[in-house]
Symmetry: C2
Subunit: 610 residues, 2 copies
Amino acid sequence: MSLRPTLDFLLYNWLNAESLNQRERFADHSRETFDAVFDTCERIAREKYAPFNRLVDTQEPHFDGETVILPQATHEAHKAYAGSGMLSAAQDYDEGGMQLPYTIEAAANCFFAMASVSIGSSLLTKGNANLLLVHGTEAQKEVFARNEFAGRFSGTMCLSEPQAGSSLSDITTRAVPDGYDFEAEALGPRYRLTGNKMWISSGEHELTENIIHLVLAKIPGPDGKLIPGTRGISLFIVPKKMVGADGQLTGVRNDVALAGLNHKLGWRGTTNTLLNFGEGKYPVDGAAGAVGYLVGKPHEGLRCMFHMMNEARIGVGTAAVMLGMAGYYASLDYAKNRPQGRLMGPAGKDAAQPQVRIIEHSDVKRMLLAQKSYCEGALALELYCARLVDEQHTADAQAADDARLLLEVLTPIAKSWPSEWCLEANSLAIQIHGGYGYTRDFPVEQYWRDNRLNMIHEGTHGIQATDLLGRKVLMEGGKGLALLAARISATIERALQVPELATYAGALDKAVYQVGAVTKAAWATGNPQDALANAVPYMQGFGHTVLAWIWLDVALATLRSDTTKSIAATAGKMAAVRYFYHYELPKIGAWFQVVSDRDLTCVDLPEDAF
Amino acid sequence: MSLRPTLDFLLYNWLNAESLNQRERFADHSRETFDAVFDTCERIAREKYAPFNRLVDTQEPHFDGETVILPQATHEAHKAYAGSGMLSAAQDYDEGGMQLPYTIEAAANCFFAMASVSIGSSLLTKGNANLLLVHGTEAQKEVFARNEFAGRFSGTMCLSEPQAGSSLSDITTRAVPDGYDFEAEALGPRYRLTGNKMWISSGEHELTENIIHLVLAKIPGPDGKLIPGTRGISLFIVPKKMVGADGQLTGVRNDVALAGLNHKLGWRGTTNTLLNFGEGKYPVDGAAGAVGYLVGKPHEGLRCMFHMMNEARIGVGTAAVMLGMAGYYASLDYAKNRPQGRLMGPAGKDAAQPQVRIIEHSDVKRMLLAQKSYCEGALALELYCARLVDEQHTADAQAADDARLLLEVLTPIAKSWPSEWCLEANSLAIQIHGGYGYTRDFPVEQYWRDNRLNMIHEGTHGIQATDLLGRKVLMEGGKGLALLAARISATIERALQVPELATYAGALDKAVYQVGAVTKAAWATGNPQDALANAVPYMQGFGHTVLAWIWLDVALATLRSDTTKSIAATAGKMAAVRYFYHYELPKIGAWFQVVSDRDLTCVDLPEDAF
């Protein structure tokens, strides 16, 4: 199975990605240049990623005391990726980039995520460099960001600490000015950092010449104490190896030491580390602390970091989708080829007949269509969000601001929905394989393990839900939610004109009304404890409503398209829509009920009663 | 956390297990003897199983060319288990057993499943020996069954083949009479078997002196051809090593050869094998084929095998429950000790305050209560089914027949429901641990991997659903379903008298009505293709209704009990009931809708549209 027809349809027939070329920034591009990028990425993913997905699972990164060893295949995949220019796909021509729309970059990266999510597509390196382009000084951009885009350096995000995972206000990594002349440094105000950072992906490896850590730390107040809360947090560039203002390595190692590798359930191709900053293993100039260069202003670190958070969350959602898609294709292939059992006729089963392939069994079809409906729907959502990123950056002021607001509201869904439902898709892919799916001889168990991470990293399910109900639907007087409702209503209006879609339009209309009503009901007492007690069920119902909208909008494009090209593909899409409206959307009732009741069954239970 | 208070409550306060001692068979027993069994099992599980659960996951069974090597811990756990007498716990005193109720045996085995499901509790050995007690000859009982109960031999079930997993009618293992005098053999009519058997748990190891395979094979007709369908299937005892009529090994190896070990996602402490019967590696007396002794009559093999199927399915369900419970306890412990974040006050969060433990966060409480509600509810269901097994064997004729019928209807739920929802519980346990839950430093990821097997083995989810909607609710003119509805109604009647429970009783009444209505609607056309198209959603709705009933019945017992003993435990149980009725039962609407519509969205989709 190739992803291309699905991707092409969503980009060109639904999202009208070609119209982006009318914008000045993308004027040199055309469907041909987009397709050439897809061709290249699809080929590299097929040749350098997919064949090694199991290998990177079994040959976990290990530390020999000096360096972290990764399989040769990982080195070659990274080389091929950097060589393709994808690291700077969306960057300006002036920066050596391809100046591609983000929509196209995101779509092109799907091939790598599907082929081997944990070999990775340098999401963090790009996010790191992008942040520096916005918040860094000219020298920081030149020395760090550009070398990341060029593939010489790679990047990390160092937020969590062992005692502070989701709660960033509790980080204790300290940053103190490095000498009286600390502000005279070419690469930015120079500090010395001490502390431990946990869950750092790609925190140590030999894939690139250097690793550029972006580190959250607190600058102590005049009393030497750390400022409580997130307001005290600043952002620093901490290179693994010291770099001169000319971008060359100075030959001095910075005091960043690997304290441990995390051994994970899945996603094993990516190193995940505990790093010690300034523990004294590699002292620089005889002084204590790892050298770090301030980015932006002191105490504004979290704001800078959030700049890369939205894209990172869309990236996580997309990874979840592509793992789901990989499982869908694997189980579809298996179902088409595995003979087992017979169909039930009016007179029972006739054992004298040959066995049928399992795709002929109704329950296998149900499990395949569920996967298709989850994964293709979620892919559409991710691409829609990617398109909003382009709108935000290149559309006129009003449209750009609308896109920004919509992204605020949709990001928690784009991150959480696929991490829950495309994981469920992976479970169905295992189920279709039967006992074989439970063995490591087939790829589906690994997809399921890999995908389980996505509900955890970049903000857990609970954090996304609190962000959605506690912040996003309220912000700017509820304008984001109103805007989303208006977009959905526009889809409903169009769908009401199409006989095949009118019933779905009606169902969606009801669902959107419910979203509005339960949002109000949740906040009726004004007490966050009441409102947020059921934030996750709220997000689940909200997410299913969003997906129903996306599918209805895709259905409109499907019926509008020239269906003579692929009657089967059209039938498949319309069945996925139908599946979603018949089997999935009705689930929102149960989720929304507890929200609108402000049900405190869980909150009220005393600890000793568990 | 100890399982004991929960188990004690369900057995003694709810199921009135002590009343079994009024039956002649159990007259020597008392709560004291039951408790002594639990004490022993709890201790062995704590000392010999739990500490090695991770070890058996990482040190997978391997084959050195001659023998399959298992960790020493597995040998010692098995020795302790056999030494405890649990292998023959439910057997007659005359057989050297303890003549315990099955309810008590099943409850006692919970400790081992929770401590290390894949070290195992010899479920297959007991099932194998029990089958022989019913269908075997005196000699077969003496030589095989009794040595299994004594722990000298262990047992397997050899049903599936590489090309025939769920579809047993397609097995091709052949059994031909071994010489003209094949019926003169002391251990039963002697045949020679050739064929391959897949997914054979405990198919090869050195834990016991011998392994007794119970093998399904076909005896060819006069034309030499295998009879199509399940009617052609017979059952054979095929020992790994040849045994004399005196029960001693003869020193001759039978022609059963290990063809491969399966490398699984989880449940790795248990060997799972592909076995070749009669491939010629160990020829016996120079003739071809593995030696097997017929059990029961020719062509009645499947009927004999089904004798052990119901108990095996309850066993699988219980294993799923206990994995869920293990994750619940682990995450509860973690949540009570891990500080992270702060509660949202009316004025937001106060960073100057110390962090709270995560059990204080509402979403963590929700995830804990969900686990409690799934796992304790499912444990109650499994114990209820175990109690029905005792009723079937020791109650008066009418009650025994009722118990048989109820078991027929409930077994698909007892097997499928925990395998789906206690797996979900394990996922929530990971989520509560955050990033740590995704590492192999904490036990919860292993529970989740181990539990994923339970939806597959002993009849997949799809098979259970077809069994339920295609056979069990229809059998004997729908008598089983009517009987279940009557039991549920009796609970509803009692609950209506209790003010705290009246609302739940009303909700359950509605749900039961829906079960009846959708069952009729599903079969309205009489066409199995229409009815069974949504057998899995039917089973999901049916399962949630059954669990709601179980919880309501448990609630009655909770309120009836002397609550001064543990106010907290009572509050916990009542919250779990409330959680189930508020958050879970409303889900049935979405599942039942597609069943009653006889929705053919999935069935109708042509293959090329996926």
